[in-house]
Every structure is written in C-alpha cells, then in structure tokens.
Amino acid sequence: MNIRTVLTLAAAALLLAVISFWMGQQAYSWFPPQASAESKLVDDLFSFLVTLGSFIFLGVTGTILYSVLFQRAGKYDFSDGPPIEGNITLEVVWTAVPLVLVIWIAAYSYQIYDQMAVRGPMELVHLHLPMGMESAYAAPTEPDSAAVADPLEAIEVHAKQWSWVFRYPEQDVTSTELHLPVDRRVRLMLESEDVIHGFYIPAFRLKQDVIPNHVIDFEFTPIRTGKYRLRDSLYSGTYFAAMQTDVVVQSPEDYRQWLADAAAQTPTVAYNQAAFEYQRIIDKALIRGWKSIPPAPAPVVNYPGIGSRADEGLDSEK
C-alpha cells in the first residue's frame, strides 16, 4: 500500500466515522420520550449500536457501490479479473474484528442490563418462593434523581382478554389506568388470568410477558410526569390490538391525591374496547368474521379512567 492509498482510506474512514456518529445522535429522536430511568440506559446502548452499525453498513455498501460504479467490464471486455483467491492476513483480521466487536457489544449490553435490574422473571425459576430484594439495593441508576431505594408497595397488574386492571392493595383501589409516582422505584406484580400477555410501556422501554399461573415481579423507576401508553405486546387473541390503556406518571402529591380520590369512589364499569366491539357485533348483527372467544366482562373499578383512547373514535359512546 502506498501512502496515497493509506491517506484515501483514512479520509474515507474519518468521513464514515463522522456520519456514523451523527446517526448515533439522531437515534435518540427515534424513540418516545424518556420516561423511566431505564429508558436512558437503553437509548444510550441503542445509540452506540446505531453508530457502530452505521459505520459497518456504510463501509460495506460504500465499497460495493464503488465497485458497481467504477469497476464495470467494458461491453466487449470478456477477460477475467485478477485471480485473487484470498489473503490470510485480511481474513484473520475480518474474523477477529467482528469477534472483538461482538464481545464488546455483549459486555456493554450486560452492563446496561445489570444496571436496569428489572429482574422480572425470577419467579418462574423459583416458583412462589419469597425472593430477596437484591435489585432494590442495585446501584441507583440516576444519581441526581430522588429515587428512594425502597420500592413502593407492589401494585397488582391483572391482565385478561382484553383488559388491564391495576390494584393498589394498601388502599384497595382498582383502576383501568396505571398511575405511578415520579422518581420512585415502583414494583409491580404481573398476573394473567387466561393467556400470555405482554406488559409493554414504550416510553419506559420496558416489556415483560405476563404468564398465567405465575406472579412476575417487575421493577422500574419512572422519571418524567405525563401520560404514556401501555400496550399488550404478546399476541393474545382477537382483540389483542385493542388491549391498551394509559400510564399516568404524577408528582408524589398528585399521586397520593389521586389514590385518595379513587378510594372514595364506588366501583363502576369501565369502558372496555374489546367488550364494546364484541357487543356491537352481537347487537347489530354486523357483517363479521369468524367466531371469537368472548371478551371478559368490562372491569368494575374505582377509577374507570377516561377510557382508553378509543381505537375507533368511540369515546362518546362510553
């Protein structure tokens, strides 16, 4: 390799590195808002992977594109290219480099995972054994946050076809909307009454399958007040897509106020998209598809929320 080749390659690599770094920064904007401590960790990791991935993708496609543009055979050129069959050094390098990268990515991912310590599924392995609270003492992920080491009392999450019900055992409050205090580590007990569901809050970057006959412990720390979506992520049958609700992260005072208000209310029937659609099909004998498992009756809760953001603009019909 002469000096000119080296310089050209170095310039190309530098350009790629700059573009890749820019892509990595862009990656943060591809997500919903960072509403949990965990989401910051995940976004950092993803940004790193986008940077690395962009560099590899642009390097490979750039090389191919150069060949396609500048190394074409002439129309009447039927000769062959140089019979190069391999290059041991090059092959060793391009085996070793991916291996090192992979170990790096795996180690970084492990580190992030360790810090998240959501430790959801331990219950599956140690069935119904009282678990220690290791993760509660995990290093605080947000040194500046007011996160208290001790998580809240466990909020029960009941998933069934096709509704979410949240129960706050201390106040005996039930709700179809998940209300959480900001900057506190919260603990959920996920339970399913029928099939496997997926508890998924995109703004928290967290997801955990909810498996029947198992109580799954799940922990995280909301850090941003606001209203976010909670979706069923694991296909659960006919009205799977409608099994969504809101998560409301509030200041501790608002949260306590909400709990107190909700506890004072008598339980009422909440709006349920699946039950509504199913009933509409039966009532109006609409043109329909095939027979479905009937949805569970719409839940009766203290706080029926303002209804899920109705898929079909049916808010008024609640």
Partner: protein
C-alpha cells in the same frame, strides 16, 4: 458433447409424459431431480403469490389506524396464514427446489440418492398447501394464533369443533416437517455419497456446502418442532395438558420446543442463499470467490452456533437473567461467521470486471439488504434493546429484510441465473431489470418504515393502532402494494421467455461449474459420462480446466 444427437433422437422416438421435452412431465410423479426441482419452484411460487395477496390485504387494513377494512378475526387469520404460507409453502420448498435442481448437477451426479423419496417429498407440498388453505372453509376459519401458535391462545377453540383451523394448521405443519426430513435425508446422503470422482469436499461449490449445512439443521432441529406440534395437537384434541396452564401445563415450554427449531429454520432458509451469492458474485465479477475454504467452513459453523441461540426469541418471556445473557452472547456470535462471508463477497466483487445482469443486480441488492438486516439483528440480540423492541414492528422490519430483502432477492437471482440452464431459453434482460428496480424500491418502502414504527412502540400483529403510527404505515402499505405489482414483470418474463425466448447455449454466462458443461436444459441423466474433477471451483482468471479432458477437448473450453 458428441452424444447429444443420439440423446435427442432417443427422446423424439418415445413421446411419453416423463420425456424431457414433454411439459406433462411436470405434472407427473417424475423421479428426475430436475423435474422435481422445477415442480418445487413453480408450486411454491404460486403459494408465494397467495401469501403475498394475504399481505396486501393486511397492508390495506393497516393503511388506516382503525380496524375498518376487515374484521379483527379475519386480520388475525390472515397474518397467521401469511406467515405460515410464506415459510412452509414458499421459502422452504423453493429453496429445496433450487437445491434439488442444482446439487446433483453441481457435484456430478446423475440424480439424487433416493429419487422416489424425492418425488414423495415434493408431492406432500401440495397436500400441505391444500390442508392449510382449506382451513378457510371450516367453521371458525383458519388458525388465528400466528405462525408461532403459542399456547394458551392456540388452545382456545371458540367453535368447540374438533376439526378447526388450528388442528388443520398443526396437521399441515407436521406433514411439512415429514416432507422436509425426507428431503434432508436425501440431500445429506446425496452430497455425502454421490459426488463425482475428484469432487472432494473442498472442491464442492459453496452452494453445495450451504445446502449441506442447511439440511443438517433440518435433521437436528425438526424433531423438536414436530414433538412440540404433536403435543399441542394432543392438548387440543385429546385434552392432555402439556402446555395448558389451566391444568398445570407450562406454556413457556412450548416456546422452547418451537424456537429450538424455528430459529435455526431461518438459517435453513438463509444458508442456501449465501450459497447463491457465493455462486453468482464470482461469475459476474469474473474473479474467484475470495477465501473459498473459509466461506465454506463458516456455513458449517453457522449450523452449529445456530443450535444454541433460540432463547433470543424469548427474552421477554419468563426467562431468567443468566439465560438472557448466555443467549445474547451466542446469538451475537452468529455475526462472526456471517460477517466473514459478507467481507468475502465484497472482496470478491472488489477489483473485478462487473457485469450488472439481472442475477447480479438481485445478488447485490440482496447483499445490501442482508447487511442491513444483520446489523438490526445484532441490535435485537442485545437484551436491553430487545426488551424494548421485541414484539414490535422493529422485529417485523428486521426479519422481512432477512426473508424478503436477502432470501427472496437471492432466490430471484438464482432463478434468473439458472433459468437458461433449466429451460434452455434466455429470459428478457429489460424485464428482469424492471423487476429488480420495482422489487428493490418496494422492499425499502415496505420494510424500512417498520423500524421507526417499532422503535416508537407499535406492537406487531395488531389490526388497529394509535394514530401516531399512521405515517409509517401508509408508507409501508404503499411499498407493499408496489411489491405486489413487482411480481408482474417477473411472471411475464418467465412465462414468455420459456415459451418463446431465445435458445440458450450450454453456458451463457461463461461460468465455471459442472452444471454449465452440459447442454441447456441438461439431458435426462445429466452426464453421459461422469466427469472427473481436477480443480477447485471458481477458477476465474486462472485458465485451468475444471475436469479431466480425456474424451473431449471442448469440455475445458469455458475455463
């Protein structure tokens, strides 16, 4: 080639359904691997169109956020059947068809090791197809539990009938599994036992290596899936409780059975496509395959590593932390042998004398799509990222880049590349290029927007979604319709070229390989005299003969 006149006289004298020039042989129980190969390819392509139609209806539903075009149950049945048809009736069989056609020719054999078994395995494919599609006609409709058929959803039977869509689906999958195992036994035996003299392992074309690697996966993986499917069938029909949580069964156990095979199944599909890339790049770049031995061995490495990665589909299921970490590492390790291949292909192309004929265009497009999907694949392997994007459209985008972007592109490349050999006709280059550009643009438009939608948190398998995802879904739907249209120039090209295309010479691409030494299409038993191989494949630019030339000087001519 002195035997050709005798050969053709013999054919004309006996017009029978199985004769090489009689179209009716394609509808018979032929034992000729070339006929069976084309039977596989054409049959599976019909299912590809059916599966594509399902996808277009789904994209029609998803072009608006509400569930307004079709009922939710119909949508759920369509995505189940789309996935099942595309995998069990298109991707697997079409690659088995290409392998069937090419492997005996490439290793210098007259047929597969077990020709009747081969024909029997093929004729099970239409049975699987009919069984699966007939479920549209039973009360309750087809299975609506997705191609994973996870219990307990798959155990729920709204009609209460014994014969329901889920049972038919399970029967079809079981038969498809038996057919695949029969094919795998045949391929492995053929490659192990029927190679021409001098065709040592390291003189086999990479396509043969990759078919071997893929079929070995079938042999170790399919028993697990079949066992899982049979247990699920028993749970539904006989009331056993392997996976039924109401009776103490464990639904997560099914996920292990399913993914133990169904993740490696992706490699069963992609490995032969790696082989196709490895065959095509040297021909159209006029250079030997870079690092031939490493590329071959890396296929076998993938076979082994792919056996220990399945839990990455279940990070969000009830898997303990140590399992998540272990399988994260093994999954990422797949990137190493795969990366080696990608770099080898790029090095093969680099400095060559490129000719951008349709097969090369599809192979290049497939390679670019594959690199992209490989990068998103490593992202998905990382547990913290996967916990966010698992079961979202990010995953749908990722695997469609693999299966459509890389595998279907590779299949198209192979069909164009070997079309002259299979039919004895040249295809129309202009239509081929039009087909490529429609497919390439359609692929990006359809599958790229799925990634941002997934990152924003749009779950997969939804018939309706929040309006914030509408923009990306409109783009994806337009891309989906474009992909549907892109098949039209292909069909037109294939049908008209086969009927009245320019006759193809034995070796239109000046390619090196045993299959290019025989006439197009090849005679019934391929080789009048079994060739003696004396060189590695891909001797471009080296001017050395591939086989011994004791009987005819002409045979060495393509080198």
């Amino acid at each position: 080639m002195t035997n050709i006149p005798i050969e053709s006289i013999g054919v004309v004298a006996q017009p029978r359904p199985g004769a090489p020039d009689n179209w009716r042989r394609f509808f018979s129980f032929s034992t000729d691997h070339k006929v069976i190969g084309i039977q596989y390819i054409v049959t599976s392509f019909i299912f590809f169109l059916i599966g594509g139609l399902f996808a277009m209806i789904m994209r029609g539903e998803l072009i608006t956020p509400d569930a307004d075009l079709i009922d939710r149950t119909i949508y759920n049945a369509l995505f189940t059947m789309h996935g099942s048809v595309m995998l069990f009736l298109w991707t697997f069989p079409v690659l088995v068809g290409l392998g069937n056609y090419l492997v005996p020719l490439m290793i210098g054999a007259r047929d597969m090791a077990f020709p009747r078994l081969n024909a029997a395995a093929f004729w099970m494919v239409p049975v699987v197809g009919i069984l699966m599609l007939s479920s549209f006609l039973v009360p309750g409709g087809p299975s609506q539990s997705g191609w994973w058929a996870y219990p307990p959803v798959s155990l729920q039977n709204p009609t209460g009938n014994l014969i329901n869509g889920q049972v038919l689906w399970l029967l079809a999958v079981a038969i498809s599994g038996v057919s695949s195992i029969m094919g795998a036994v045949n391929f492995v035996t053929t490659i192990a036992k029927m190679r021409a003299p001098g065709m040592t392992l390291f003189r086999m074309p990479v396509f043969v290596w990759t078919v071997l690697a893929a079929q070995l996966i079938q042999l170790y993986g399919l028993p697990a899936l079949t066992a899982g499917a049979v247990m699920l069938l028993f749970d539904i029909t006989l009331g056993t409780s392997f996976f039924n949580p109401d009776k103490g069964g464990n639904p997560v156990l099914y996920q292990h059975f399913f993914w133990f095979y169904s993740h490696p199944a992706v490699y069963v599909m992609v490995l032969p496509v790696f082989g196709i890339f490895s065959e095509i790049f040297p021909v159209y770049a006029r250079k030997p395959l870079f690092g031939y031995r490493v590329v071959s061995v890396s296929a076998i490495v993938i076979t082994i590593v792919s056996g220990v990665v399945w839990v990455h589909h279940m990070y969000a299921s009830g898997t303990p932390g140590w399992m998540r970490m272990l399988f994260m590492f093994t999954t990422m390790c797949v990137a190493v042998p795969t990366g080696v291949k990608v770099f080898a292909w790029v090095a093969t192309i680099w400095g060559g004398k490129l000719r951008l004929d349709t097969p090369m265009l599809f192979a290049l497009g497939g390679l670019i799509n594959f690199v992209f999907s490989g990068i998103t694949g490593v992202m998905l392997a990382s547990v913290p990222v996967d916990i966010h994007v698992n079961n979202t459209y990010f995953v749908v985008g990722h695997f469609h880049y693999v299966i459509y972007g890389a595998i279907v592109f590779g299949i198209y490349a192979a069909i164009y590349h070997w079309f002259p050999k299979m039919t004895g006709r040249m295809y129309y280059e202009g239509l081929g290029k039009l087909h490529f550009w429609l497919t390439f643009i359609g692929t990006q438009l359809n599958f790229l927007p799925m990634h941002p939608a997934g990152l924003m948190g749009m779950p997969r398998r939804v018939a309706s979604y929040d309006p914030e995802f509408a923009f990306w879904n409109v783009l994806a739907s337009l891309g989906g319709f474009l992909l549907g249209m892109s098949t039209l120039p292909f069909i037109l090209n294939m049908v008209s070229s086969w009927i009245q295309g320019k006759p193809a010479p034995a070796n239109p691409w000046r390619a090196i390989g045993l299959e290019w030494l025989v006439s197009s299409p090849p005679p019934v038993e391929n080789f009048e005299e079994i060739p003696v191989v004396i060189a590695e494949p891909y001797g471009y630019g080296k001017n050395e003969p591939l086989i011994e030339t004791k009987h005819s000087e002409e045979l060495a001519e393509p080198a």
